[in-house]
Symmetry: C2
Subunit: 112 residues, 2 copies
């Protein structure tokens, strides 16, 4: 059995202005990613992963790019990324908070 | 392939003061549940489901009950519910918004 409550776990800094904290079980991982380096001058390079991803925009505004489309998203919006589908974002506001859920678990997030 | 973007989908009213909107892929479902009927006078009856659940508190304050413990949670906190573990909540503030992610997909949410 994993820990059963995460509360406000300590964020890990991924790079300057970007931090992440995670909670996971066996099949499911949720990451809170905070970008405080916005607005980005250009989108991040597209990436993909076998994991399915659903994201909730908790704070801020951003562009989400997938399947040759550009979507402007704000607090309360969600986007879905099927397995192996290339996608990326570009933050518009100085601060953006995304709630990224994945299945299966992003084992790479646990190691990094 | 499912739709790839959810944006701010229309919420469905579950009961007066409680609404839900969902996004899902094949293995993963995220539900945004808005409680505007708080504070609750007492906790909801405990419930359980085979699906794993991770919840992010997007707005408000609540008590989360699981495994004979009571946790006071606020915006930014997370909790994790293992498969088949009884749990419940009691909202403290008039409005609470929870981002509930599940794996596997809550097929019952799609039918109801």
């Amino acid at each position: 059995m994993h820990v059963q409550i995460a509360k406000n776990t300590t964020p890990k800094t991924l790079k300057p202005g970007i931090s992440r904290r995670i909670a996971h079980l066996d099949k499911l991982l949720t990451a809170v990613i905070t970008f405080e380096n916005g607005p980005m001058e250009e989108p991040d390079p597209p990436h993909s992963h076998p994991h399915e991803q659903i994201t909730y925009v908790a704070e801020g505004e951003l562009y989400f790019f997938m399947d040759n489309k550009k979507h402007r998203l704000q607090q309360g919006d969600m986007f879905m990324v099927p397995s192996e589908m290339p996608h990326t974002i570009q933050t518009i506001t100085p601060k953006v908070v995304l709630i990224d859920s994945f299945s299966p678990v992003r084992e790479d997030f646990l190691k990094s």
